[in-house]
């Protein structure tokens, strides 16, 4: 087995955490809370559940860190816990991907769908429009299956490599590649009607 002790920047904190050091645990939480929360929101959707799930991830980390043997980097292990926690919640709630209708999309984004494709500068005066846009993007993501949302989140939103995603999801790289292709195609198909509406209105 490859030793990763010198490669993992978190190994000292992890070892301290294993002995029950609360300060070390807090440092790990503060280091990863935003990334974990962002992943949860992308996969599960912005809701009151997201904060709860993020907390569950760290509680699980606290309970299970003694089982972390260092086969992979701590961050990979934590993202694996995060993704599994999200998938568990989705499965538990029996959420099904809902087809996105143009009307539903307009309603959800309060007309902000027009901004989906046009380039807007991140100006403070456009904050409201940005909020609508973010909601619209999230709606499109939510319409994908959980499996597709996970790979799109990890690859296209968080910018991880296919190898890292394969490590997180414990899948071969080939599986990730094909899953990513299918997920991107599904996303493109969801966006196609909006894109065509936007092109024809331009």
């Amino acid at each position: 087995m490859r030793s990763i002790e010198h490669e993992d920047p978190d190994i000292d904190l992890v070892e301290r955490c294993k002995t029950g050091d609360r300060v070390a645990f807090r440092l790990l939480v503060e280091k990863y809370e935003r990334t974990v929360f962002s992943t949860v929101v992308s996969v599960v959707g912005q809701s009151a559940d997201a904060d709860d799930i993020a907390q569950e991830v760290f509680l699980k980390m606290h309970r299970s860190i003694k089982n972390f043997k260092g086969e992979c980097r701590f961050s990979v292990w934590l993202y694996r816990v995060t993704v599994n926690q999200c998938l568990d919640r989705i499965k538990h709630q029996k959420r099904r991907p809902q087809p996105v209708s143009l009307d539903g999309m307009i309603e959800a984004s309060e007309g902000g769908f027009e901004g989906l494709f046009k380039d807007t500068s991140p100006d403070a005066s456009e904050e409201y429009e940005q909020t609508q846009l973010q909601q619209a993007i999230q709606n499109v993501l939510n319409s994908l299956s959980a499996e597709h949302r996970v790979v799109i989140t990890l690859k296209d939103i968080e910018g991880r490599s296919q190898e890292q995603i394969a490590e997180i999801l414990k899948c071969p790289v080939g599986t990730i590649k094909s899953r990513l292709t299918r997920a991107r195609e599904a996303l493109k198909e969801r966006l196609r009607p909006f894109y065509e509406t936007w092109i024809s209105g331009e």
């Binding site: 807090r26 939480v29 503060e30 962002s38 760290f58 509680l59 606290h62 989906l116 499109v140 292709t181």
Partner: protein, 153 residues
């Protein structure tokens, strides 16, 4: 390469994940194909859209909320441990007592059954003997009467 396969390369092309040779192939095919060019534009628009997604904002004081839950979980765990220490030995003892009591009762029941069988066997024997005696008496009486009758004759 079929158009569908070309379409599947477009994301990788826009993300700069293809080899130079494949890049040139995609560009050449898109030049002469309006459908593929439109597909490329939609791919670019989709990627732009994902890039424009802002990281979600967390509610403040995450650590405080987490810390509270951690304390709750620890106190629940402590309560279970305390209850386990107190009640598990008592429950084991109670289970043993019940087990001993039940096994004792089973022995008594089996004795009772034996006794019942003995009584039944005894009564059966008595009936059998009585029947035999009766039969014997009857046969004696019959023989006596027969003898008396024959004497009278």
């Amino acid at each position: 390469m079929p158009v569908e396969d070309m379409k599947s390369l477009l994301f990788s092309y826009v993300n700069g994940e293809l080899a130079e040779e494949q890049n040139k192939l995609v560009e050449a095919r898109c030049k002469g194909n309006a459908d593929l060019t439109k597909e490329l534009e939609l791919t670019r628009a989709t990627i732009r859209l994902l890039e424009r997604r802002r990281p979600a904002e967390m509610a403040p004081f995450f650590w405080d909320r987490l810390s509270e839950r951690l304390d709750q979980a620890a106190s629940t765990q402590y309560a279970w441990m305390w209850a386990a220490k107190r009640f598990i030995p008592a429950m084991v003892a109670a289970t043993l007592i019940v087990a001993v009591f039940l096994s004792g009762r089973m022995d008594i029941t089996s004795d009772t059954n034996d006794y019942t069988l003995d009584v039944w066997a005894y009564e059966t024997d008595v009936d059998y003997v009585q029947d035999n005696i009766t039969m014997t008496d009857d046969s004696i009486l019959e023989s006596v009467f027969f003898e008396q009758e024959s004497n009278l004759e």
